[in-house]
Symmetry: C2
Subunit: 271 residues, 2 copies
Amino acid sequence: MNKAALFEQIQKKKSFLCVGLDTDPSKIPAHLLDTEDPIFEFNKAIIDATKDYCVAYKPNIAFYEALGVKGWESLQKTLDYIPSEIFTIADAKRGDIGNTSKMYAKAFFESMNFDSITVAPYMGEDSVTPFLEFDNKWVILLAATSNKGGLDFQYQKIENGQMVFEKVLEKSLEWGNEKNLMYVVGATRADFLEKVRKIVPNSFLLVPGVGAQGGSLEEVAKYGMNDTCGLLVNSSRGIIYASNSEDFAEVASAEAKKLQEQMAVMLEKYS
Amino acid sequence: MNKAALFEQIQKKKSFLCVGLDTDPSKIPAHLLDTEDPIFEFNKAIIDATKDYCVAYKPNIAFYEALGVKGWESLQKTLDYIPSEIFTIADAKRGDIGNTSKMYAKAFFESMNFDSITVAPYMGEDSVTPFLEFDNKWVILLAATSNKGGLDFQYQKIENGQMVFEKVLEKSLEWGNEKNLMYVVGATRADFLEKVRKIVPNSFLLVPGVGAQGGSLEEVAKYGMNDTCGLLVNSSRGIIYASNSEDFAEVASAEAKKLQEQMAVMLEKYS
């Protein structure tokens, strides 16, 4: 999917919501466990319930990988079920030497046909660029993550006064551009969104950490939005596990709708 | 596997060789492609041919993941075939927020029973520690990698005068110790092994980049070896693709034996 198609979707739905599919057999409603593929049944119901309110789905690959071969099958079925106009993110945080990253790119972009994949920058240029060689596919590079450990290295100040995550943003512009590169920037660091926007004003940012992790949607929109929205705000647990009874899909739908309505206001106000 | 068992194996075989199983359908001998599971057949032959000369095997997970469900099956069969006294490394370079890293740990340590996994440090503490909660399992943390892109961020100097990779080493000692943490340090940076040894004198280092990537075994041993050897030197392509004819296993065996003999000399000289 290209940038124009993504923005069109955002305008149409008045939403920049991404729903995270962190589907865990120990957390899904009990009545689904008797079905042949509980993970897929859960995802299918969540997709049906939320697809009008979101513009992206983000399966968290670890949750599928942990289930072995069966998990990969559930993932593929989920991906096939997502409507084609909705952006898909493999939240995989891959990154390795060139020939290996190329293999990961093939896995997620060719075997599985995801629109994008999250990539860790620690190994630098040749670990990232193999993912950038596919038309209409995206790298979503980790920059400033929302977890506590993000502070350990990403916020270290380097010699030129930049923080490590700023160096990552700046360096990445030598490898790609706003048409094939997005960045993970946690909502719990809304004050850093201004710093991020100085380096990548026109790029999309994938923002986790709104809701369960405590970030404010208003702050994110205020500091992060640009004239093509430039934001995908993710919510996982706050939507998919809002209820674990038989009404889980209905409640997920209501939660997604609530966020979409807040986002419509933000789009009006800040873009 | 614990540290004592690993060292015992090194002493017994007079080797600290790790064979990388970067098994690629486009590179294996043509006659194997007609078998039901070419990847496994190749690995099986390589394991039979090299198991007396190495102390570890390192499947590069990307190569299996790229083949989808069938690749994961080949990986599991390979892992089951590796003799139990040989150390196994899932070269996966995972790392994510706490609950997600926990899922990856389950995938590789429980579903698959690897002894260790390579982990990327960019997301800090809570992305690494979930992997450290398993008895006799290891994290092999990326520190100074051997690829060109390694220079982009790992060698940035931070405010206190350290380089980023030194900060990673130092910080990691708050999370684990020489009994559950190893580090990736590229052989192409042998001059940095002294810096590494100042921070983690007793830890094992996984050293890629000898051979194909140009690193020198002698330099690595000279600067990196400690009194329990402390090194696992990896060779992938130099061994497994030394020939792509019907004699591939025989040639791989000879290449592994050659390295083992050099390593026996290094163990005599430097440990």
